[in-house]
Symmetry: D2
């Protein structure tokens, strides 16, 4: 029996990606799509690649009837998201793709996002949506907070290593390269083709990127004490894909073994043979994450490289994976399509 | 019950695309993959985006046992293809992706491909694989010749118009823009990233592109007399996608109506509302073809623009669609995934 | 002795390109730069690639003193441009890069730009800035109107052919592919990297692009009677470069001879050997225009392909070439740098 | 008075870049160009962007007469380079762009390049070509070894810091992102557009890249004891540009001051204001190198980011800068053109 879902904020890239994935899902029915500024338009006008699908017309959120909706994907901007989610009826499960419910601590939220949280009760009960590490909690949750796409990539490389105590947690560097779709469909000069193509640059250098709030929260929890990493994201001229090059101090073979054992039975996490490393091209459009481990020439230093598609495993794919769990479905439904290469 | 298929030439882009599509097909089983120069390697080493799949190891064609194979996809270069296909056992159905069986006339083949055909009996019995126009013949065929990707795009724009007699067949210009994957994974200086990115250029200008053989054959057949079109392909810095801008003399509204009626019930052909036109980005990775019609400011002149993904609807997706028909399956199986954008 | 120049609208791509070119000019001195919204900022903050240059700070136009300025480059949007230029003191020569003074006829301007012209006297006396064809007029002019970048490309391919009467002027098709910088540094969703990369599409299809006003004006003048061409521009994922594929009816050898003779002594126009054709990559960043001629397989039909860099020969390079003439300097000063490839 | 120069290996990207730069040099005359496999062809056939130049036809090296040649740029592959250079007459000065003379120690050369050096006397007398640090030696040298492009980028970020002792030399990580032209015009599957565009990946991970030989040699010399850095290069889908993100332990303000003082009077090295950082787009096609310093949120950790164009400041521009010095010319001749953006 199909479950009815709604997608709020369907006119953004994560919204469109949800529609793309759910269109191939056997047990979900897209009952409502919202997009305040494009209300009244068919989805195919806003995203012509979806024009062949029979979809509900875009509506304002206020116009939606949630009576028969089982689960809502919320792809709204942060701050807006908390305001909307706290008004949703209790019977509706929620997967939020914004940053609003990722940080459990209210003061930490205020620090990174510059304002107090308006739905602090919900904030405390939300489950962090990194599926492989919060599976049971997610299955039981009403509200799941999708992780940051950069935060997910770094955590896939590092969590089992911190848990196992095989690396020095005080000397971790995450040098990350990301495609441009992570910035969304927003009108900013620095996202224009002419500004971004044919080159590369760093941004949020020096520890100012908000996803550091997630790294701090999760890594400190795993280590049982405060952990801070260095994290420098870079923008490269590609639409999709994140490559995190992670520098750790620890034995490379042990690092590889630890990751291999942690992810051996995971459907979407592929640990490459020791010494191999991934490319974002080979996960494009898919829910897979490829992870490689290489020993540096300097003994005791190891490079872990993780690659995933920011719009899929980094946000909308993860969201669907979590929704499957929350609805009691097979976690992989709608998500097994192979990457698109070249 | 699953049908066993084999893919010959699995180490090329069309081979990899077939694997990607068939991996999501409920009724086909990839029983054998060949790649002479990469024999012995797992597919995931040649195409890491497919590493999560459980696939047969690549073998030389000579090492394959066709006893239990129901259908072969042949992704070999032309000339090689005819040599291999004529040795296949009779019980094996064949979808050929090369140019070897597209031209029915042996002299025409020799003219465009510079040598005599080595399997002329097969050449005469092969069915031209433009699914929407040869559906019944394809369903009954043993050997189907996949069309050229450029040839398919131009024909989708033009065939119904020639059949209906609504345009001047003596004054047709197809100005085509194609991504680079159509040239395959071959080592040529002009396919290097540094040579191709950040610009555009024409190639095979003046009527020398081999796909003209297909245009001539098919359009003349439809018109009942010799038809020659002008055709200039251009290479643009994108991996996938063909955009054919077709200039015709005829009434725009009539042109639009004719296409709309011809394709109204087709699962993969989308005729856009009058005045709209497509982008290759909106069909990427999918089996869809979008077609638009716009009236020029000069009365009696019309622009038809067709967009498809050369690796999917232009070759491997078409091949799978034809294989579905040949095996008595639903034509759309494995092919309904939405395009990947952005 | 150096001439003092000012650049109005220096915060756009054409403004930055002017600064880049003039920085290497021996006889021009950049005395003032304006950018209303970025007034007070150094040019290197707005365009970091120019940070090594010692340039005047950006100012509002109102704050500029034109007393010692010999020539102004005006890179403002159309409509704004005419309002500003009519206030400039008489001793200042003006090269306008906007569309405001390209069309001589006031009614034609109103038709294409949707409003009446506010400086009709200036409009009538402005010289059309296609250097090679209006050289003497430009040298004597006070106000020169830079051509549209698409309009320049098409005219380089066609003007000598229309003048010589070697083609049918009633059956000309210009299928043009342009990079994205021609659209400027404006915040539009359709100019985002994620929207534009990895694909191609047409725009202003059917004869609605404003550069048609220039084609109509100039070609009709040359032919001595009304001439209308078909013109379909396409956007390709490259920052710079225009490739115009022009379909004409006429003898290819005669077409090639005509162009070769017309441009034989031009410093920036390179007619390729018969049968060869250009790529935008090979003119990038330069003031050169490459033109090729190929005979179609259909007798009497010919393809002319012209390539130039829209920001250089298509606008700022042309502007500098015209300024050189207006100031009595060698036309090529500051413009002979070779293209940047790859 | 013009100096006669020859370029050996003119059919590669560094050769073409030398021609582009020297074409704008007032005191150098390109007297001979070699390219063994393309001998007999005009340069404009091999690199159409140079077709407007009046250049000597490509010849085999054996056919060149060095009698009147003052200086040779040698853009041949390593190993070939040493074999050719040792045969050149003594009066010819040489700037080698290959890796053959970068490492002074014969055993170190053998270790990194897998064979013994065939011109060990020359190897010992060659001057390392990082202009800003070997200026006097270069001016007096007969043979200058151009640095690796990655090696140059990392050294610009680090040399003054090691010399000044303001960072921990035992904990340096260079995470580098490079465009594809650094790999040259060679026919390799992994350099195809379809393989490289739309993504990113690391290569030579773990300390296997040959430019580490240069880092080890130079940094150890500066520190007065063995220094080994971690170095991970990545390929991004751009043709030109290197961005080195360098992680050091040291005080950020002190790091910035040290670089600012070291490079304050350098014509091509721009140290950005504290807290700003560069993009490869803003040095494209130029000989400039932009360097930024940012303090990490973790006290005592600093990120230095350097950007240059691998074909210009990273190889051919550097080569010309060195040649200017060797010929007693102004070091900046032919090199002051502003970057090309967008």
């Amino acid at each position: 029996m199909a479950h009815n879902i709604a997608i709020l904020g369907a006119s953004g890239y994560t919204g469109a990606e949800l529609v793309r994935l759910i269109a191939g899902h056997p047990d979900l029915r897209m009952a409502a799509l919202s997009a305040d500024r494009k209300a009244g338009q068919p989805m195919g006008a806003v995203f012509p690649h979806l024009r062949h699908l029979d979809l509900p017309v875009l509506q304002k959120i206020d116009a939606l009837d949630f009576t028969d909706i089982d689960l809502v994907f919320c792809g709204l901007p942060h701050a807006t998201s908390q305001a909307v989610i706290k008004t949703l009826p209790d019977h509706v499960k929620v997967v939020d793709l914004s940053a609003d419910f990722r940080l459990r601590d209210t003061a930490t939220y205020a620090k990174w996002y510059g304002k107090d949280h308006d739905a602090q009760d919900l904030q405390k009960q939300a489950v962090y949506g990194l599926t492989e590490f919060y599976r049971d909690d997610i299955a039981a949750a009403r509200l799941v907070a999708g992780t940051g796409c950069n935060a997910a990539t770094g955590q896939y490389a590092l969590r089992p290593l911190i848990t196992a105590g095989v690396i020095d947690v005080d000397d971790i560097i995450i040098d990350l390269k990301t495609g441009v779709s992570g910035a969304g469909r927003s009108l900013k000069e620095n996202l224009l083709h002419a500004e971004l193509s044919e080159g590369g640059h760093a941004y949020a250098v020096g520890g100012t990127h908000r996803h550091l709030g997630e790294f701090d929260q999760e890594f400190s929890l795993l280590a049982g004490r405060p952990v801070q990493v260095q994290f420098t994201p870079h923008l490269i001229p590609a639409n999709r894909g994140i490559l995190a090059t992670v520098y750790v101090k620890g034995d490379a073979a042990q690092v590889h073994d630890t990751l291999h054992q942690a992810y051996g039975s995971e459907p979407f996490l592929e640990v490459l043979p020791f010494g191999e490393h991934p490319s974002t091209r080979h996960v494009r459009g898919s829910n897979f994450c490829h992870i490689g481990v290489v020993a540096d020439r300097i003994p005791g230093r190891t490079i872990v490289i993780a690659a995933l598609d920011n719009l899929t495993k980094g946000s909308s794919g993860q969201a669907l994976q979590n929704a499957n769990l929350m609805l009691g479905l097979d976690e992989t439904l709608g998500l097994m399509a192979a990457p698109v290469f070249p």
